[in-house]
Symmetry: D2
Subunit: 256 residues, 4 copies
C-alpha cells in the first residue's frame, strides 16, 4: 500500500496582517511548514499556528527563509555560507522554542521561497542549508526537490530526505515546475490536481503538461494554501488518494 504525505506552507500571517486559510487547509494536510518570523510569521502567529496544527494532528516543520518581511522571502539576498547556516539554525530553533510552549516538537524542515530556489542550484548555499538543519538536530527530515543541489547536500550530510512533488502545480516537459509567470502554472481544477496526486503516489511519476510521465520518488506533496481554490483542490486530491488506497502519514511516521 503506497504511503505519502501532504504538506503545506502555513502560518504566513504577520502581526495584524492575515494570509492564507490555515484553518481551512489544516484538515487536508499531514505536515505543516511553519514560517519562522524572517519572511512571515511572528512569535504569536507561530504559537497560534503550532496549536492549530497540533489540534489537527498535523506534524510540525520549520519553514526558514531570507530575512525579508517586506519581500516575503522572495528576493534573493547574497549571503555567505556562514550567515545562511546560522540564520537557518536560528529560525528552526526559534520555532522549536515556540512549539515547546504548546508541547509540540519540530520534525521536519522545508526551506522557503528564494532561499530554496537559490539552494536548489548553488552548491555552496545548499551545503550551508544542510549544515544549518543538521546542526540543530540530525533527526530532522528535509523536504526538498529530488535532484536539486539541496537534495545532494542533504544526502551528503546524512540527513533524511523527503522528495517533494506538487499537487497543484503544472510540470514542464523537463520535469521542472512551470514558471508562475505562465497562466497555467497552478492547477485550479480539483480533478486535474487529484489525478496528478494519484499518479505521483501510486505510479511514482510526475505527469507533464504534454502527458509525459517522468519517474520520481515523491514522499511528500505540497498543497498551496494561499490559492483561493486550495480547499477544493486539496480536498479532491486527498479523497482521490484515499480512494486509490494510498495511506496518508505525517513525515515522522514515514520511512526514507
Amino acid at each position: 500500500m503506497p504511503v505519502v504525505n501532504i504538506n503545506a506552507d502555513i502560518g504566513e500571517s504577520f502581526g495584524t496582517w492575515e494570509k492564507g486559510d490555515d484553518a481551512g487547509v489544516m484538515p487536508l494536510i499531514n505536515s505543516a511548514n511553519i514560517a519562522c518570523g524572517f519572511h512571515a510569521g511572528d512569535p504569536s502567529v507561530m504559537r497560534t499556528t503550532v496549536e492549530l496544527a497540533m489540534h489537527h494532528g498535523v506534524t510540525l516543520g520549520a519553514h526558514p527563509g531570507y530575512p525579508d518581511i517586506q519581500g516575503f522571502g522572495r528576493r534573493p539576498i547574497r549571503m555567505s555560507g556562514r550567515e545562511i547556516e546560522n540564520m537557518v539554525a536560528y529560525q528552526i530553533g526559534a520555532l522549536m522554542g515556540v512549539a515547546a510552549m504548546a508541547g509540540g516538537r519540530i520534525t521536519h524542515v522545508k526551506v522557503h521561497g528564494a532561499l530554496s530556489n537559490v539552494g536548489a542550484v548553488e552548491a555552496d548555499v545548499a551545503a550551508a542549508l544542510a549544515r544549518g538543519i543538521k546542526g540543530v538536530d540530525r533527526e530532522l527530515i528535509h523536504v526538498c526537490l529530488a535532484g536539486s543541489r539541496m537534495a545532494d547536500a542533504t544526502r551528503q550530510a546524512g540527513l533524511r530526505l523527503a522528495g517533494e512533488g506538487f499537487i497543484d502545480r503544472m510540470y514542464d516537459e523537463d520535469g521542472n515546475l512551470t514558471s508562475r509567470q505562465n497562466r497555467d502554472a497552478v492547477h485550479h481544477d480539483p480533478a486535474v490536481a487529484a489525478a496528478q496526486a494519484v499518479a505521483m503516489a501510486v505510479d511514482g511519476v510526475i505527469v507533464t503538461r504534454e502527458g509525459r510521465r517522468i519517474p520520481a520518488e515523491i514522499h511528500s506533496m505540497c498543497l498551496h494554501g494561499d490559492e483561493p481554490t486550495a480547499q477544493a483542490v486539496g480536498g479532491a486530491a486527498r479523497q482521490a488518494l484515499l480512494d486509490a488506497g494510498v495511506e496518508l502519514r505525517g513525515l515522522p511516521e514515514m520511512t526514507f
Copy 2:
C-alpha cells in the same frame, strides 16, 4: 566554602557594529547572557559568541529583550502577556538552535534591559516571562533580582532562581541599584568592586553607599562587560573572591 557565579551580558554586537570586549571579559566570568537578535546580536554574532564562551568553559544563557534593535531594548514597549511569552520562547529557542550548531546547550536565562525592568515591577509581565522560560525548558535557571515580581513569578512557576547581585554597581540605602543617571552609579575602582563582591559572596550582604549591610542571597554576580574598566574591575573581583576562598562555578553546577 561559599560558591558563587559571575555572569556578564555578552554578544551585544550587531551586523558590522561591535560592542563590548567579549574576548577580554570571557576569561573572567562563569556564565554568559547572550543577546538573541531582538535588541542586539544576530545569528552570526550569536554563533561566534557561543563558540567563544565554550572555548572559555563559560556556560550559556539566553538574554532575551524587546524587539528593538535601534533602542537596544532599553525602551519599554507595551505588549500583551501572550506576546511576551511567545517572544521570549522564540529568542531562547533561537539561541538554542544556534548553540546546537556549536555543540552547546543553553542552561540559564537572564532578561535584558527594559523588559527586565518592567518585569521586575509588573506582575503580569513577570508571569509572562516565567511562562516563556518554563515553556521552552523547565530546567532553565532564571537569573534575576531577588525580591522582584520576576523572582516571585519564577518561584511560583517552579523554576530555579539564581538571585543576582552586581559587582560594579552602587546600591542605594534601600537596596536598589543607584540610577545610572547618577555619576557614581558604576564602580570603576577595582578595589571597591572587589570588596563588594567578597561581601556578597562571603557575608551574604549587599553594602550600600552609606555602608549599610543588607542581607541578600546572591547566587550570581553581574559584571558589566561594556564598561572600559570591565577587565580591571572584573579581574580584581575575581581574584579577591578566589583569595577569600570562594568557589566560582557555572550556573548549572550550582544548587538553588
Copy 3:
C-alpha cells in the same frame, strides 16, 4: 454654507500583505492619511497609494507612527522627545520623497495609533510631535483631536490645526470616543453614521450615546476604511452631508 473634510487612514498594506479597501474608500474621502513605513506601508505601497489618491483628487497627508510593523503601531514605545521629533520628520519626509515621484505634495499630517494616543495625553510627546511636523514644513496642517495635549502643542507651535471628529465611532457622555473594547464602539448602521456626520458639520456638535449634544469644532471627519461597512457607512455620510448643503473639501482648500 458649512465646509467639512472627510479623511481616512489609507495605504496600510505591507509587502505582500493587504489591508483595507483603499480603492473602495478613496472615492468617498477628500484627504488621505498615508502610512509611512513604520507601522504599515512600504515605499512601493506608499507610491501606489499616492497615485490612487491623486487619481481621485484626494489630498495627501502623512500618517506617522511608532517603529513597529509587527504591532501595527498600536503598542506604546517609550521614546525621548528627540527620538520622536526625528522619527516623525523622517516619516513625513519619506512620504514627501515618494509622493514627489508621482508629482504629489504632502499637505497634512495625522499621527497614527498609539503614538497619537500617547501624544493626546503627554505634553512632552505632544510637543515633540509638533516640532517634528513644523520642522519639516510649517505649512503642514495637523489633523488631531481638539482639546488634546496634541492640539495645545499644535497651536503653540503656530501650526494650523484641523479639529477631528469621527463619522463611524460612538461617543461617550464625556465627549470621548467609546473604547473599542465595547461592542458598540463603531457605527455599522449607515443612517446612524450619516446623522452623526451631519450633526457635526451643520450643527457643530458631537452627539453622545445618550443623545447629549456637545459643541465641537470639527474640520475633518474620519472614516475607518478597514471596517467591512466602510463603503456603506462612508457613502451614506457623504451623501447626507451633500444633501444637507455641506461642502466637502480637501484640507489645503479649507481655512483654519
Copy 4:
C-alpha cells in the same frame, strides 16, 4: 585654477552602536554622504550628522542603500526597478525631512555599497536609481563612477553627474578599483594618497598601481572615514591639494 570636492560616507552609526570618526573627518571634507536608515543611520543619528555637517559648512547628500541593517547594505538583494526607485525616493525624502528640522537642504546623492555596485553594471537598476533621484528633485547632483551604467543612466535622465575618484583606494591597470580582498586595496600612507589626489585634481588622471595614468574627469574625491588612518590620509590629501592651488568646494558650488 582646478576645482574639486572631497566627499565621505558619514553617519554610519546605528542606535547605540557607533561607527566611524565623523567628528574627525568632517573638517576634512566638503560634502557628506549621509546614511538614511536602511543600511545604517537612524532618524536621531541622521539629525546629529546633519547638524555636525552644517556646523562644519559641509554640504548634505543622501546615501541610500539596500534595506539591510544587519548586512550594512553590502549584500545584493534582487529587487524590481519599481521597488528600487521607490526605496531610493523614500530614503532621500526621509533625510530631507530630518535635515529640514535643522534648517538643512539635501543637494546630492551617492548610492551606497551593494546597491551602487549592482547599479554600476546593471542597466535596469541604474535606470531605476536615476528615476528615484530625479523623481524627488531634478536638481540633485548624482555622485558616481564615470563610465558606469549608473553614470549613463544619470546623463540620460538629465541629472547632473559628479564623476567620482578615490583618495585612498588603489586602482588596477584597467582603471577599476583594486578589490578589497587585496591587502593593498586601501592607501594608508598619507603621502601616497596625497599624490593620488593631486594627480586627479590637477592632471585629471587616475594613477594605477603600475603607474599608468588614465585620463578621468573627477569632480569629487571620496575619503573613507571608517579607516583608522582616515584623518592622517585625508589631512595630507587636503593640504596637498591646497598647496597645489586646487580649490575645494561643496558640490552645489561646482559646475558640471
